[in-house]
Assembly symmetry: C2
Homo-oligomer: 211 residues x 2
DNA sequence: TGTACATCAGTGAACGCGCGTTCACTGATGTAC
DNA sequence: TGTACATCAGTGAACGCGCGTTCACTGATGTAC
């Protein structure tokens, strides 16, 4: 039966939100369209009124998750913007590590993305760019440079690696899982803090992100 | 038909080797037992004469891949053991990034591991420990300490994150994929080189990366 | 050394099940008059 | 404002297919005598 435009838009949003959560929890390939539809309060057929394929939904779901993560990451706390150290604390917390559904969508899927549709990889790349831009601006917002970008990129993949590795060993060796978080938290500042050898690195040109 | 003990052992090894390659290429859940058996020159039924389940084979396959990676990582080159910088160069090379089947098994599966059987997570943890031990010993083999381990752990997850993130964006944004490798290569030394605040004699010898 | 036979790695059909996608149909919505 | 009807989000059965696992069977190996 037809449904109001408003209701249809709500259903579409619910599908994306539900897919985002389930795909993070069980992997993109680990959850089926039937389950996503059911969890969103619909049948699986309804999904194809909104998206041409599961791949397309996966791309939208990843984009949704990344946008939400970005908003949370950069949201003001106690009336001011968070500092770099606070961002890292939040990202590496044990709560975020334990709650895959609420945690970083990149960390939840990083090693699956390359095997998905290119559209999914594009969303991942856009999310990584956003994260890098936030970090680079916190490193030195007045003098953004190739050096800041380089460090921000390394910090981003370090955090993604830390969370996904911590989750990987969580069931088998919980102490190691926690140790990863603490080690990275304790060490990652060296990436930001190390003084530059020569004023600017010459090796790596900074590509202009297409946003 | 029965087969000689030697042949059976060969078949078993072939199954593990094949599973290791295919699971890295297409994900642990992305490849089926039928395909693994066929690629190893057998039928899928034969697999169950050697392993109680696909999960058990996945654990063995991961262990095999990690052991092979460890051997390659630490193998002497040109008659001497590789330095830390050389290890990193090898790990972050574009060839290893492009050839999933030959690259690091941890980077290939990191975000899938947490959803697998605990046995698989155990193998991953063991592989990570090995990698950390290698790095820690290269940082300062004479004075292994908690500080070295901490840095080695951060370096390990940074490298895993770098390769898996680079692969994630490879199809969609190859330039970004390469930039990740270069940025991490250029920045990761700061983790090793940063003088320690308190708990070590300040002059931790900075490994000289081959450049 | 030769013969009889137990062993068991490997075969291939079959199991129930879930996958992504398609499609004829439903019926409330929203529009044209 | 009331009526007629086109639209289209959502339904649910059906599609072919591949999944992991089981199992009765095969037949060369390897052993006991």
């Amino acid at each position: 039966m037809k449904v109001s435009k408003e209701q249809a838009a709500q259903n579409r949003a619910k599908l994306i939100e539900t897919a985002s959560r389930l795909m993070r929890e069980r992997g993109i390939d680990g959850v089926g369209v039937a389950e996503i539809g059911k969890a969103a309060g619909l049948t699986h057929g309804a999904l194809y009124a909104h998206f041409p394929s599961k791949d397309a939904l996966a791309a939208e779901a990843l984009a949704f998750g990344l946008e939400r993560g970005h908003r949370r990451l950069t949201a003001p706390r106690n009336g001011r913007l968070p500092e770099l150290g606070e961002l890292i604390d939040g990202y590496l917390s044990e709560e975020k590590r334990n709650d895959v559904a609420e945690g970083c969508a990149m960390a939840a899927s990083v090693s699956e993305i390359g095997r998905q549709d290119t559209a999914v990889g594009e969303r991942f790349a856009a999310g990584l760019e956003q994260m890098v831009n936030v970090f680079a601006s916190k490193l030195d917002w007045q003098h953004p440079s190739a050096a800041q970008r380089e460090r921000a990129l390394t910090m981003a993949v370090t955090l993604i690696g830390a969370i996904s590795a911590s989750r990987a060993v969580m069931k088998a060796q919980p102490e190691l899982a926690d140790e990863i978080l603490h080690a990275v938290r304790h060490t990652i500042d060296t990436i930001a803090a190390q003084p530059l050898a020569s004023d600017e690195p010459t090796a790596v040109p900074a590509p202009t992100p297409s946003a």
